[in-house]
Symmetry: C2
Subunit: 204 residues, 2 copies
Amino acid sequence: MGKPERRQQILTVARDVFSRRGYHAAKIEDIVTTAGIARGTFYLYFQDKRAIFEEIVDRTIARLGMSIVRVDPSDAARTVGDQIRDNIRRVVTILLEDRATTKILLSDALGVDPAFDRKLLAFYDELSSMLEQSLRDGQGLGVVAEGDVRLMSWLTMGALKEALFQIVQRGAEYDEDRLVDGAFAFFRVGCLRVDGESAGVAQQ
Amino acid sequence: MGKPERRQQILTVARDVFSRRGYHAAKIEDIVTTAGIARGTFYLYFQDKRAIFEEIVDRTIARLGMSIVRVDPSDAARTVGDQIRDNIRRVVTILLEDRATTKILLSDALGVDPAFDRKLLAFYDELSSMLEQSLRDGQGLGVVAEGDVRLMSWLTMGALKEALFQIVQRGAEYDEDRLVDGAFAFFRVGCLRVDGESAGVAQQ
DNA sequence: CAGTCGACTGACACGCGTGTCATATTGTGC
DNA sequence: GCACAATATGACACGCGTGTCAGTCGACTG
């Protein structure tokens, strides 16, 4: 087996092991025996456990980062709603494509080590800021509800994260379109239909 | 110091250490030195590291479980909307009350060990099922939008979890009312205002 | 066939953190 | 101020997983 193939093989095996056991419970021994190689071979290809983990997660993070396209309200071809929906779809597609990595990203990636935590939180921050800015722009255009955009961006990100986590966590099949449309509808009109009857104070 | 006080002291210190360092990075040594006691003393009060962690998390989980009250549509005094808002408020109050524990619960609790993971996931499942059932009931009453209730319950839970996580993670002050009202508004009417213009397929 | 080189091997040493236990210290009733 | 229990101590042994490195193997070369 050539060097690049071996490297890729170890990466794939490691991804599955991390996904199954979680970062801390996953032993190099597990990866090595599953891959059918010796302990030492692993260290010819990766510096250490953290390095291979980081590489696995980084790939998906990078793809996610690329997948989000700024909404252009002046685009005559695609409505703002459709552009938003497309963003959701791209994120969902990437994350459902490689479920093992998604599970790692959404449940084990935090708590690996302080430096990596910072990196991951920085990524989420970046996403969140981008979303926040988009929402603010949207408010100016009247396509986003009034209110705290920072909170909205958290709520939005969290909603999608949890849905994707549940789907990959349970290994359940779940139709991509169903998820994208369901999430989009949720962001567009919420889920409660209690308008008018609530005696609560209106926000803002 | 009496036995119960000492026990409580260790619990409090441990909570802070877990919150700061995360489960795996937190050493018994850290807890013990912070509490100003000897290593052996710790083991007089708790069986092991996992046991004290579990006790910390269990408390909050139990409180959360108790805090959610079934919505009663026939209640003349409180509208359905207000009852839902109250549920959100109770959850938020509990989780913002003890931010250290909330941070542990929302970022470190998964990946501690397989048995504990199952337990935690079972709890989330329970919450999710309860919510799902409520949403289904709500659909019957016309106060919940049509659509996949399971997905809605994930989106809802995730939205709240992320918002709370971000707040405690950053140690940011965030007004409880602002959060409750913002989240409620989000669940009620979403955040996008792109009605009519979207050429996308309507869900369901 | 000897020589060289890259890929692979796996026994082992090392560090680290946990949990124990024999001992010390503190507190209490008489 | 003694006896005895309750509480606390911390050096230590143990297990475990990581990362290393001296050495094997086979392929290719002149």
